[in-house]
């Protein structure tokens, strides 16, 4: 193996570690932001006591979670109970192997071109959806292994919900794939550069408005956020599938949820909002626009969370099967017709 290959491999390892670290630490600011957003939307201040403006609150929470007693129910399936958080977490992280954060940048000192993605798969979107789908195992097993009726119901609800909405999610992506003519995310982003008529960004949202709506709704359901956070319905299920979890195992689930939220935002940006493409004559800054757009979507998720009430379970299912699924098929049909 020559030196270049070694550098490539090293670079990939560095990127993997870098991305993982970011993902691991991401919930720390995100929880803080979420609580702040919640506070302000409810005309409160949110966390304020730990650190300036409560900025250290998530750290305090983290420390608390680390040192809490790790309790497993006596009649729980011990192995599955322990592995369920991992089942949930690993796919959520694995998804990032295929996600591009930008095109290429040149690192100034060593004057080396570095791609801002771990790998460019030609089936990237499929990979993401497939691997993302595995996350459901964590939830379903966590619910089952707890040997608790609330957890089991939460788990079952969750898996049913995820399977249902995964279909709509995938179908909504197909429209994008059809317009972009590629399964690779890099290609999809590249397709969206430029403008239409000189002032409208050439983003998929223009071609696929229905697709985006479906994608967005399905993503909300897929990542279990309000208004579709039925699995952890406090009112009727105590806390859903992770009711028996505590300490670090519980925090893994939380981590998974936050990472999933980021993934959903990232996908929305890449598929429909041009990825790192700067909007409208704005200067091209590596990663910045990408992060900004993702940040907006994350904020949107939080915003929605504190705006809408939770759906009823039967409503959730009927939306998924009776509205989103036919609509997404229709979308594919229309897209196909346009392409012809």
């Amino acid at each position: 193996m020559d030196i270049n290959t070694l550098i490539e491999v090293a670079l990939i390892i560095v990127k993997v570690i870098f991305v993982s670290l970011i993902l691991f630490t991401l919930p720390i600011p995100l929880t803080w932001i979420e609580r702040k957003v919640a506070g302000h939307i409810q005309v409160r201040l949110g966390p304020f006591r730990v650190g300036p403006h409560g900025i250290l609150q998530p750290v305090a929470d983290m420390i608390k979670l680390m040192f809490k007693e790790d309790i497993a129910p006596e009649k729980a399936d011990k192995w599955l109970f322990r592995f369920a958080p991992l089942f949930a977490m690993i796919p959520a992280f694995a998804v990032y192997a295929a996600i591009p954060f930008g095109d290429k940048i040149t690192i100034p000192i060593i004057n080396k071109e570095v791609t801002l993605y771990i790998s460019d798969m030609n089936v990237g979107i499929l990979y993401i959806l497939a691997v993302g789908g595995i996350s459901v195992y964590g939830i379903i097993l966590g619910g089952w292994a707890s040997n608790s009726k609330y957890a089991l119901l939460g788990g079952i609800r969750s898996s049913a919900q995820m399977i249902s909405y995964e279909i709509a999610l995938t179908f909504s992506c197909i429209g994008v794939v059809m317009t972009s003519n590629s399964l690779s995310l890099l290609d999809i982003v590249k397709f969206q550069s430029g403008t239409i008529l000189g002032f409208i960004p050439n983003w998929n949202i223009i071609y696929q408005p229905i697709g985006f709506v479906i994608f967005f709704i399905a993503a909300l359901a897929e990542i279990n956020r309000i208004p579709f956070d039925l699995p952890e319905d406090e009112g009727s299920l105590a806390a859903g599938y992770h009711v028996e979890y505590s300490a670090m195992k519980f925090s893994f689930f939380m981590l998974t949820e936050y990472v999933a939220m980021v993934t959903a935002s990232v996908l929305a940006v890449i598929l429909f909002f041009g990825g790192w493409d700067a909007p409208l004559f704005m200067p091209e800054i590596p990663i910045f626009w990408f992060v900004a757009k993702v940040g907006f979507f994350i904020y949107l998720f939080m915003w929605i969370r504190f705006t809408l009430p939770r759906y009823r379970y039967d409503q959730l299912m009927s939306i998924g099967w009776k509205i989103l699924l036919p609509l997404s098929l229709l979308n594919i049909l229309i897209t196909g017709l346009f392409l012809l």
Binding site: H40, V43, F48, V213, L308
Partner: protein, 181 residues
């Protein structure tokens, strides 16, 4: 029209804009206990106070009417004789104890008191770490309060959180006050 509304998620956007409006509006949170503290209205019914007259004599004559009037029977009064002029009468309370765990702060004791000795005060910070402090004895009830009875309430006043060996103490600064909300 409703179809239009549905297609373009008008209600949804309305909701979002409403919450966004709240998000940028000023928060109503009182930063208690770090910076601010609510000084309740004078009519507030918090921890009782035993009052003194202008000469500093105890107003309580230990008539036990408060104990009799109390619906939860949380007041214990044991009278004693005194000729040193501690109270306005030669009958004063040897023991005056209110069991705050039982007290429901109804204020009937106030109504029963013939000498206006017992008044519902404004202290509401009654949580503590042991049951000992759940019984307010005479000394505690007689002690001057940080928010005096005369202070016109209904304000938020600036406050300072103090931690010392005795516990946590919130010191209000009555000169700096503002309307809440």
């Amino acid at each position: 029209m409703s179809i239009f509304k549905k297609i373009f998620f008008i209600d949804f956007i309305k909701g979002l804009s409403l919450t966004l409006g709240y998000e940028v509006s000023k928060s109503v949170t009182m930063r208690y206990p770090d910076e601010e503290k609510w000084a309740p209205y004078q009519r507030f019914r918090g921890l009782h106070t035993l009052n003194r007259d202008a000469q500093g004599r105890e107003l309580c004559v230990a008539c036990e009417l408060c104990a009799k009037a109390c619906p939860t029977k949380c007041i214990t009064v044991v009278p004693m004789e005194d000729d040193k002029g501690i109270g306005i009468s030669d009958r004063i309370a040897k023991v005056y104890e209110i069991n705050l765990v039982r007290c429901m702060f109804c204020g009937l004791c106030e109504d029963a008191c013939p000498t206006t000795a017992i008044r519902m005060g404004r202290d509401y910070e009654l949580a503590c770490f042991s049951l000992d402090c759940a019984a307010a004895d005479k000394k505690r009830l007689l002690a001057p309060r940080e928010i005096p009875q005369e202070f016109e309430g209904g304000y938020v006043v600036m406050a300072r959180l103090e931690r010392n060996k005795e516990g946590i103490n919130i010191k209000p600064d009555l000169t700096r006050k503002k309307r809440w909300w």
